[in-house]
Amino acid sequence: MKYKVMNLVYDNIDTDIIIPKQFLKQTSKDGLGKYAFYNWRYDAKGNKKQTILNENDDKQYNVLITGHNFGCGSSREHAAWALADYGFDIIIASSFSDIFYQNWLNNNKIPLIIANDEIMNLVAEGIKNITINLLKKRIIINDKCYEIKISKKRQICLLEDIDEIDYTTKFTTQIKEYELLI
């Protein structure tokens, strides 16, 4: 797979920045990529600003490198949908908000947490190659190995390309038993 990397190395990029509230009114999750980072891409009159974010019409950027506490704020999964539709498959950050991390995984996308100085190195050196090994929960970037922090359940979901609801069906009996006790 070919990777093209976008660097937005700021801390605390919140979900209001990723997808502003005026785009949360639709009832489907499709097509939100065109509104991703809207206020950073367009001025108040709706004219395009000069930013790398506006150089992705063919969705060639599929890796985002960012800072600390990415996706903080609102729980809106629209943020994950918008970033996925914009083209990103992998987001590398020094940390993620807990809710966004789940939302990104629930769209079967990969979040990678690496130390801040490593982020700076990647930005300086550029990413030459990425290999994902889900069986070993690893990503190899520029010949350096990083662990993907996911549970066994999540690994199965990603490997089998199923969602959590499908996975949970095998515990239906336990859920029923629990419900009998309460």
Partner: protein, 440 residues
């Protein structure tokens, strides 16, 4: 020996295999984050497993000015909620009905929020309910679909952080306490933790005050915020007619031993003053009458401020009193004390938006609405309103807003709006004078 959080977690754990499969007692939903979850459910030909444990309201995109919603896309969202709740037999609090309001205001008010429960909602301010000794947290839409289908959720158990609030201070409110914690510790110190607020301050705090503090756990980076069960919790539940049948279990909802926390921070509030944010995240804050510190030029430019400017000199032209942080009855009674006999400054628009229909009617029936209107405020119907400005209650570009809500993010209250988060008291003072100051 365990924390409250761990006690509730263990009780709801159905499977433990790296992540835990937790049973969910109460699932609150609203119009913005639920439609896609219903679509996911339908794609799998599944049903809502426990509609009686689900409760819906419409709060985010509705208008609060009494006019008909004219936004076609937002209308579609409300129609979807009405259709879906009717199809799956989920109770719905409709606009104008007695049970209607902001999701985190109405559930406690109607006795739905109970100690020891697991409560989820597709809304990050769900930790509000943690004030009742619950595990309450915000979830994404895929997770909403999972709860619909299974009444459970997979979660990684967080660590426990105790936040001990000590010291006495009569000059500040609960909002100042949580903004002070953010100012001191930043917006991500809670990542991976459940925050339990305890100590003398919490012991003396009302449920409304505890809810204001737990509400903003997410701003600290934590999904969960909670307080122990005590007499204050009991009295509130009794007053709202909530079920007290599990009272014996409730009494165990306290952390046994301070050593049960993985981490403890001590916050002394005895010397603090009212806190006001000046930047674009809730930790960028100063005390009233303090100068704005140095920061990156983007933040200063966005806010139209320079370092060295006193926060009291910022010209406030918009005031918003409401939201799930400060939209409860006690907040409006406090606002009335400040605004009684005063006039809103001629350059200021002041919006008063009750958190629920019950509160709205109380304000109407007891002369508060009239008092606010005579002071020059606009009193609205319940809803999230200008907190996230999904409806018409947007704040104009470049104007400075004194807001009792929870987020001052770029564009949050309107394109290029400049939010200053603060307490109800500070918002009232700003409404009267057109700027912040210590006293009325």
């Amino acid at each position: 020996m365990a924390t409250i959080f761990d006690k509730i977690w263990t009780k709801h754990e159905i499977v433990n295999d790296e992540e835990s499969l937790l049973y969910i007692d109460l699932h609150l939903i609203h119009e913005v984050t639920s439609p896609q979850a219903f679509t996911m459910l339908e794609a799998k030909k599944l049903k809502v497993r426990r509609p009686e444990r689900t409760y819906a309201t419409m709060d985010h995109s509705i208008r609060t000015d009494g006019k008909k919603l004219d936004d076609k896309i937002a209308q579609g969202q409300l129609k979807a909620l009405i259709k879906n709740t009717s199809k799956y037999d989920i109770p719905l609090a409709r606009q104008g009905a007695k049970n209607h309001g902001i999701v985190h205001v109405i559930a406690p008010e109607q006795g739905l929020t109970l100690p020891g429960q697991t409560i989820v909602c597709g809304d990050s301010h769900t930790a509000t309910h943690g004030a009742f000794a619950c595990i309450a947290f915000g979830i994404g839409t895929s997770e909403i679909a999972h709860v619909f289908a299974t009444q459970t959720l997979w979660q990684t158990k967080p660590k426990n952080m105790g936040i001990q609030i000590i010291g006495l201070n009569n000059n500040i409110s609960a909002k100042d306490v949580i903004l002070y914690i953010l100012k001191e510790y930043g917006v991500s110190f809670g990542q991976g933790y459940a925050l339990e607020f305890f100590g003398k301050y919490i012991d003396n705090a009302s449920m409304d005050e505890r809810m204001t503090i737990c509400n903003m756990a997410i701003e600290c980076g934590a999904k969960y915020g909670l307080c122990a069960f005590d007499q204050t919790t009991y009295d509130y539940l009794k007053q709202v007619g909530a079920s007290l049948k599990n009272i014996e279990e409730y009494q165990d909802l306290h952390t046994d031993y301070i050593g049960d926390f993985d981490k403890i921070i001590e916050v002394n509030i005895s010397k603090i003053k009212p806190v006001i944010t000046w930047g674009i995240n809730p930790s960028q804050a100063v005390f009233v009458n303090e100068t704005i510190p140095q920061a990156d030029s983007f933040t200063h430019d966005y806010m139209g401020l320079t370092s060295g400017t006193n926060i009291n000199e910022v010209k406030i032209t918009q005031v918003f009193i409401g939201s799930c942080t400060n939209g409860r009855l006690s907040d409006f009674i406090k606002a009335a004390c400040f605004l009684k006999g005063n006039k809103v400054h001629q350059d200021v628009r002041c919006l008063i938006v009750p958190g629920s229909q019950v509160i709205k009617e109380y304000l109407d029936d007891n002369g508060y609405t009239r008092l606010f209107e005579e002071a020059g405020c606009e009193v609205r119907n319940p809803g999230c309103s200008a907190c996230l400005a999904m409806n018409n209650d947007t704040m104009p570009a470049n104007e400075h807003v004194a807001s009792t809500s929870n987020r001052n993010f770029e564009g949050r209250q309107g394109s290029l709006s400049r939010t200053h988060l603060c307490s109800v008291e500070m918002a009232c003072i700003a409404a009267i004078h057109g700027h912040f100051q210590m006293e009325v």
